[in-house]
């Protein structure tokens, strides 16, 4: 199955892209997505446990992901 990983701000700069379509096994969790992203060039600049959202809601690392989900890695926010 595939999930779309969205990257923003400093994380997007670190990996050099704003979006990655990831092939991942059925039954994968948020943690699996983060682990797979962490192997990409530039990912060493991301924290080991970044905040993650699935389909626009903050999600714990054990949350299951499904085909077509949008998974976002969320840098420290700074609105206002």
């Amino acid at each position: 199955m595939t999930v779309t990983v969205r990257l923003f701000a400093s994380y997007a700069e670190s990996l050099g892209k704003h979006q990655i379509v990831l092939d991942i096994n059925e039954g994968a969790t948020v943690d699996d997505v983060v682990r797979q992203i962490s192997t990409l060039p530039g990912a060493h600049r991301l924290p080991p446990l970044p905040l993650v959202a699935v389909n626009c809601a903050y999600a714990a690392k054990g949350t299951r992901v499904f085909d077509g989900d949008e998974v976002a890695l969320i840098p420290p926010v700074a609105g206002g």
């Binding site: 923003f8 976002a72 969320i74 420290p76 926010v77 700074a78 609105g79």
Partner: protein, 143 residues
């Protein structure tokens, strides 16, 4: 009535105040956040704001709902502008109306504090010496 929006054009605070006003409300509290010329001793030229738009609007709507439950506000609007903003431009506006001023001001404080801590918005500060830096400390999660 509540409304949370990410916008790309200049914030019209008078229009927002009219939108939130109600004959039953004796208090309209307004907060306007603007780009400051200095941050932690560095001279700021401007700020580039970016957002995960859909999630930011969702999270800000949740915050307005929480404020409505806590303070029984009648109307609340939050608009956050993104893009490149020069010093002095408004980046965020919050408008709250309530029959009484105490609850309006308390709700206003709650909404701006939670928005800064949770909304998926980022700022890239541009300094007058030509350097730039991502700034941020919000945890992104409800307290």
């Amino acid at each position: 009535m509540i409304r949370a929006s990410i916008v790309r054009s200049r914030i019209d605070i008078e229009a927002l105040t009219r939108e939130a006003a109600s004959p039953s409300c004796g208090a309209t509290a307004v907060f306007l956040g603007t780009v400051r010329a200095e941050n932690e001793g560095r001279s700021v030229d401007g700020i580039e704001y970016t957002a995960y738009d859909a999630m930011a609007e969702r999270e800000m709507t949740l915050i307005l709902d929480e404020a409505r439950s806590r303070y029984s506000i009648e109307s609340a609007i939050v608009e956050h502008r993104i893009g490149e903003l020069p010093v002095g431009d408004a980046s965020i506006a919050v408008v709250v109306s309530h029959p009484h001023r105490g609850a309006a001001i308390d709700a206003l404080r709650y909404i701006i504090d939670e928005t800064k801590a949770r909304a998926t918005i980022w700022k890239l500060e541009q300094y007058t010496d030509g350097t730039r830096e991502w700034v941020g400390s919000g945890t992104g999660q409800p307290e």
